[in-house]
Symmetry: C2
Subunit: 420 residues, 2 copies
């Protein structure tokens, strides 16, 4: 079998460790030059394949590729771009295969979430039907931790660590000032549908009375009266109250708390987050002094406080993707299997994309306390190993030394232009 090229693309929201997966793919591919001549990376994800805009990773030094392991963001550019269904837009899929054919691409590594796994699965099918079979391997990535089958998703452990550490630190701040200052602190975290990230805030405390005192999950319908009662109780007992709220927190009727109909001075709807809404609620009903933080992108780009477990797993799925492709597999994703809880041990196995694509794994009810405001011991056991270990990037002059690629483009070979 002569060597083919591989295509790698990043998809959807980036994470602190998605480049560690890219590093795993490229370093492993480079060990098999007889089978994989080069890894072409899509500039801005799959759009790079459709528009034949690819980055030649062979032009990057071993040192640069190694540095991807500690660099957050998506080094090749990612995209929020979902291929339509085959019925709706067969041309997109055919275009992909045309580009793959023009560049001798025999391997397709797609690093993303549920949607991307669906795309990878379809490309695998269509490439066969079109007589140019490409080994299509999905590589899991999502801070939301909502992919099924896999024990957890690369990207999540580092956000979880960031949120747990930030909650712990801010709580120390609030506790030391509560006598004369802020009584209620609210931290808004990501997770529009699933409460995994909010749950991670619960790791900050382990003793009764420890912060966070309240977690608001998207899975638990928000009841204002019960919430305010709990805040009042906390402030009475501990003199302060720390709240971690998921951006997806919602009422029983499915309306997000963040859609509070807030308007600016001109009456325009203001697209705020959920934290100011909860804060205003606390002020108006309890008259307590509050502060809030919105972690937003900081949480998913915080490579400086990445989980060592997460970095290892992100690299491992990238590496395993290449190994699986070389074993002749297609339409699969490397998944993380927890083989032991104490000590925590895991391994990578393969799972068919059909079992993963377009499915969401929500935080199970048994991971949330009966009252709906905190995590259970079972949840803590699940989450704890995922944030374990520190993996600091190198620093120069007080700042992380994150790498920038040369990003040399692969010469175009197709005669047609494709507009996305």
């Amino acid at each position: 079998m002569s060597a083919m090229n591989a295509f790698y693309a990043q998809s959807g929201g980036v994470t602190a460790v998605i480049n560690a997966s890219a590093c795993g793919v490229i370093e492993t591919a480079r060990k098999h030059r007889n089978r994989i001549a080069n890894v072409y990376a899509g500039r801005n994800g799959i759009i790079g394949a459709l528009t034949e805009d690819m980055i030649d990773t062979n032009r990057e030094s071993a040192r640069t590729i190694a540095a991807l392991r500690h660099t957050p963001g998506g080094a090749f550019g990612s995209a929020r771009f979902k291929l339509k269904s085959i019925e709706e837009n067969r041309a997109e899929y055919e275009r992909l295969i045309d580009v793959f054919r023009a560049h001798d691409i025999g391997y397709f590594f797609y690093n993303g979430g549920n949607d991307s796994m669906d795309t990878a699965q379809k490309v695998s099918q269509i490439s066969k039907n079109m007589g140019f079979p490409v080994a299509c391997i999905g590589i899991p990535k999502t801070v939301d931790n909502d992919l099924p089958v896999t024990d957890n998703c690369p990207g999540f452990g580092s956000v979880a660590k960031y949120v747990a550490v930030s909650t712990q630190e801010a709580a120390l701040d609030v506790a030391s000032m509560s006598k004369t200052s802020t009584k209620v602190f609210i931290l808004e975290v990501m997770g529009r549908h699933a409460g995994w990230i909010a749950a991670a805030g619960g790791l900050a405390g382990s003793e009764p009375g420890d912060a966070p005192h309240i977690i608001l999950f998207p899975e638990i319908p928000f009841r204002k009266a019960a919430f305010l009662k709990r805040v009042r109780e906390c402030v009475r007992k501990y003199d302060y109250c720390v709240i971690v709220v998921s951006e997806g927190a919602q009422y029983a009727n499915g309306r997000f708390l963040a859609e509070a109909g807030t308007r600016d001075a001109f009456g325009h709807a203001q697209l705020g987050g959920v934290a100011p809404v909860v804060a205003t609620m606390v002020r108006d009903n309890l008259g307590l002094k509050y502060h809030y933080a919105v972690a937003d992108y900081l949480q998913r780009s915080a490579r400086h406080i990445a989980s060592a477990t997460d970095v290892k797993q992100a690299y491992a799925v990238g590496k395993a993707a290449v190994t699986m492709a070389l074993e002749g597999k297609s339409g699969v994703m490397p998944v993380i299997k927890r083989i032991s809880q104490t000590p925590y041990r895991w391994k990578i196995v393969s799972a068919p994309l059909t079992r993963i694509a377009n499915k969401e794994k929500m935080l199970p009810r048994r991971y949330i306390s009966t009252d709906g405001f905190s995590i259970t011991p079972a949840c803590r056991r699940y989450l704890a190993p995922l944030i374990r270990g520190e993996d600091y990037p190198p620093y120069i002059n007080g700042l992380p030394n994150y790498v920038t690629l040369k990003s040399v483009s692969v010469k175009k070979r197709s005669n047609t232009k494709f507009v996305v």
Copy 2:
């Protein structure tokens, strides 16, 4: 001279390294048991002295005291409580001296900002007048970096590092997604009066085109048209725009941007931050997709990413305070003097509190670029060494191992009760 006790209190907003100063005070005092028998710490700052509610630090192990060096927040509790002027409330000052006398307190170490330096100065005076002279030493602490005389303030370097690193990381995230997602990212940072913290965001980039592309300082009157023009230019040139905005950003007439008259669904004024206001402005006028983060307390409690320079200086001012007191000084503060820029070298000298109390050091105009949107090379030279070096706390199971004190109360000796 027989041994007296010392009183130590934390004041105002806490920082990631104020406990490192406490550590410097207590460890140094313990080396001079013949002069300082014990350090009593005010529970909740100066309120602890007024109410005779003090923590016996002799009951804390050497190991616990050493761990203060890496623990954020205020371990003894801080307070936003300013003593009134002597004319208005002489009773408060007399009460302080009464408590000091009852507990043989001959040294007063007050760890705070401008207001606290004023208090320390007054206590020094009054104690002499009342025939019970107490050595009063101020210890600088403020994330705002706005104390005069000292080159910089302990607490600032770590916030500066947090803001620079977070800006750098979030910028990588935004840059990798801008093709199909967020174009404008806004990070709100502290600094109601002075733009030092916002300026630190400027350290994230060093090449033209690097983020942050715009910094909004409180010192520069906000001009909406010029701001929006700059955002549009950035997006055209780089495809994205990263903005660091100080909570104190204001219009020429002194109105804060944060006071945008935002109202919730019920018409109540919503106390939002400046980030959502700027974000709404970008959306309404330019129609660009945005995200925003509000760092709030996370920035000043982020001991996990503290500046090693800052930690050293925070410890050094605590240590120097004790040394100065033992040398018979009073009414002074240890200040940081920069003695060399390259290589960066500093030392601690003493300055009279009268030169420091109630004065604010603003970001000088020459540290801000002519257009008002970025920092100058001179500013960069000043800031760069302050964020240098990492000083990681120890971790257990993926979380920083921050210390909690036993906080045993000192037995009351005064017969009177004092209500604050």
